[in-house]
Symmetry: C2
Subunit: 482 residues, 2 copies
């Protein structure tokens, strides 16, 4: 494509994006398509000859866009709501043009050093200690997998060299996480060959926080049974309810037991950027590693997950491997990103984060996150004030767990539970089918629970208010239908 | 940022990229900076208040760009030369704007179905059988890790459930790859907890291809020693020399021994798009899995690695894990991308690949790759015709392995080997310091070997010719200096 053509289509795409971000509400937030619909609209074979970009962009708009679920829609309240801020998108455009593979310092000094700078800035914003170095990965799942691998390496059992199969000398390794921990912890154990059996799910208290006394007890029990406890994963901001594990008490246990403490702060780490919320990371200064996702609640286009650790040397020892074709004269004087993980090639992700931290500044980021928490509390207040609804968990940050609970006279407890589960699931399906808002769910103490997650940069009070109206409208419709 | 502002800065960035791609030669291909230079130029703390985008873009140009090694430069001949084509960059821009997390079909039907369509198109272009389904990952390292994990799962030893620690029943698992295989195979084994001890490096022949008879022998030996062979990784296009392992013979061994055959065609898979080069994948139709990287030699911006497998069900069995908060009504009728690996969130990568396959068409892609192979042969011809230079490996595709070998009278073999190693390393440093071209090296039979890798979309005969001139100039300079 000639530079002139690229300029022309590039401007066209920028204009499209500008229009899109100006009014994402023109689209249904949850794609209103059937499975297979997009696939059936496209040719089953690739074209023999090249096609004009204008035609491709037309098909993009005609076929692809209707099948998009719009994460950038201000009424995306499902999972963890996220957003790609404008400076982040500009950063991604430049990264795409450079197309760097930041595997070695040499192959991308800019990416390597900007990663150190941007991650150190973010560390300061979150109030983590200076001895925490950082590495950027794609996702928290991958960051956590690497943290657990480092914990395994720290045991000095030669797992890197000798592996775990065919060894009679290895006891069963055990990792502890709350029953509310993210599924990525279990997946990490599966991938690393430790298996689901190595995961101990620690009970949570009534507010869905890990019970540190139970943790201590479980570790002691495992030791007595000849197993080898090696790691605890605490969560700051669990996926279902954003509950915050008692990290200071957990750190005490880890210290006494000599276990690696990894903190999953994928969502809530960003909250620590707000001075009055910095306490969410209390105790995390004692962790061995911590993951936070700027692509979740720091307005950074996906993907960018940051792993911090005071023991990056152990992570490096677990993964560094330099074949001859990757040796460079400067290798001992620089950081080579690929030494810290499975991935050799790494995208130039730090650019967008650096641009975002500068564009918004500390104050700007804190103001956005603070407002999201206010909106969640506002919504929670409406829920609490209504006899037809109830909160199912505390609201420490920007996610509300709730359900409709209209009463029916003379009902048994079991019948009520089943009725409310069915009702709330039907309610979720109904509001999502409008395309106006998108909610997802979880289960808490066995009950089907709606979640309203605030986190998109474009979400303001009107969107949250409309979500509340719509939920009440649909509840009324369903009640009238019987 | 207002839509107007985004439009303005978006156009500015597009213009910058258009100018950049029109003349990447204005920049040194290898960043001419010292370690720490960029870091030292930036503030050590983040700004308290937001800063204007114009200022950020100025600093980007002033500080960041000089520290970029330009993978899009037509004289980038190091490692595997790659490039981000214009339609691919446009695709990345749109993906960044959507900011999708394609973890479930529901969270991005467009990404999920376009992934199926684009990968099936690419499969057809490479001539792989219809029973090969595909999954997109970030990198070949991650794709290979997942393939090896699937091979482990296929053993039905309950490694997913029970792991490998604390088990006396598990023999030592063994995987076989040529001594020329990529380091990512070893890293996969480290991550998966199988360890370096589980890797058997199979000798290669004089042309750097796996010796299939030796493979057979090593497997038998391991079986006799009570070990459990479970996987063979064959390479189509090794990193050092692009040698092609004899996959038909290796597939015979795997079939007889009941081993999972994974093919690393990260680089050379793209060559199969050229009808007369399709033979490079001979035998791969019998593989259990195969990885190829459109981000290497198919003009796709990094990252996009495609894993194909006839046994995606095994991969899914190894990794699928659906907590309540990720359940959807349609989950049994659709493909959820996160079921196939460690990563939960996944970028909308298929869009750029779909746009590239359409923009260039089969003919366009084949013409580019064919020309790159011609340029490599041309360069190899110059090397062969000159008494001062020699080829150190065959040139099956677009990479030339060579060295300078000016003669000195009355030298011992050992002295000659040491002199040529030092000379060629010095030569590489000298040409790279010009910023005109960028070469990397490997070692072959112990000898320091220069590599010229052709693969960038902007590379034409003039760039290869200039590389040859420059190498000869520097050789002459060094010879004159003594």
């Amino acid at each position: 494509m000639s530079p002139e053509e690229f300029r022309r289509f590039g401007h066209e795409v920028v204009d499209w994006i500008a229009g899109y971000l100006a009014r994402p509400e023109d689209y249904p937030v949850l794609a209103q398509v059937e499975p297979g619909q997009l696939r059936s609209q496209l040719p089953t074979s690739p074209p023999e000859r090249g096609q004009p970009m204008s035609e491709i962009l037309e098909d993009f708009e005609r076929f692809v866009v209707p099948a998009v679920t719009h994460w950038n829609h201000p009424s995306f309240f499902a999972y963890f709501a996220t957003s790609a801020s404008a400076p982040g998108i500009l950063g991604e455009m430049l990264s795409a043009a450079f197309d760097a593979k930041a595997m070695l310092w040499r192959t991308s000094p800019a990416s390597t050093e900007l990663e150190e700078v941007a991650l150190d800035w973010l560390r300061q914003l979150m109030g983590l200690p200076a001895e925490f170095g950082g590495v950027i990965y794609d996702t928290a799942s991958v960051a956590t997998m690497h943290a657990v691998a480092a914990a395994r390496e720290a045991l000095n059992l030669h797992v890197r060299e000798d592996g775990m199969s065919g060894r009679a000398d290895l006891p069963l390794l055990r990792l502890y996480a709350s029953e509310q921990a993210h599924s990525s912890v279990e997946k990490s154990l599966i991938a690393l060959g430790l298996g689901q059996r190595s995961l101990v799910k620690v009970p949570a208290d009534a507010s869905f926080r890990m019970d540190a006394a139970a943790l201590k007890h479980l570790i002691e029990e495992d030791r007595r049974a000849g197993m080898l406890p090696f790691c605890v994963v605490a969560t700051v901001g669990t996926t279902s309810t954003t509950s915050i594990d008692p990290v200071p008490a957990i750190a005490d246990v880890c210290e006494r037991e000599g276990l690696w403490l990894h903190v999953d702060a994928a969502y809530a780490g960003s909250a620590a950027v707000v001075p009055e919320l910095r306490r969410v990371l209390e105790g995390c200064e004692r962790a061995d590693s911590l993951v936070t996702n700027p692509h979740k609640w720091l307005f950074t286009p996906f993907d960018l997950s940051a792993l911090y650790s005071r023991r990056l040397d152990v992570l490096r020892r677990a993964f560094a491997l330099t074949p001859e074709y990757l040796r460079t004269p400067e290798q001992d004087a620089v950081r080579n990103g690929s030494d810290y993980g499975v991935q050799l090639g790494r995208r130039f992700r730090s650019l967008k984060l650096w641009m975002i931290l500068r564009y918004f500044g500390h104050e700007g980021l804190a103001a956005l996150i603070r407002e999201h928490c206010r909106l969640a509390r506002l919504f929670a207040g409406w829920v609490e004030a209504s006899p037809d609804w109830e909160l199912l968990a505390p609201v420490p940050l920007s996610v509300v767990c709730f359900r409709a609970r209209p009463s029916v006279e003379g009902e048994t407890d079991g019948a009520r539970a089943a009725r409310l589960d069915a009702l709330n699931e039907r309610l979720m399906t109904a509001v999502n089918a409008t395309g106006e808002i998108f909610l997802s769910h979880t289960k808490l103490h066995g009950a089907f629970t709606l979640r309203l997650a605030v986190g998109n940069i474009r979400t303001n009070e009107s969107h949250v208010r409309r979500a509340w109206e719509l939920l009440n409208e649909k509840l009324s419709d369903i009640s009238n239908e019987g």
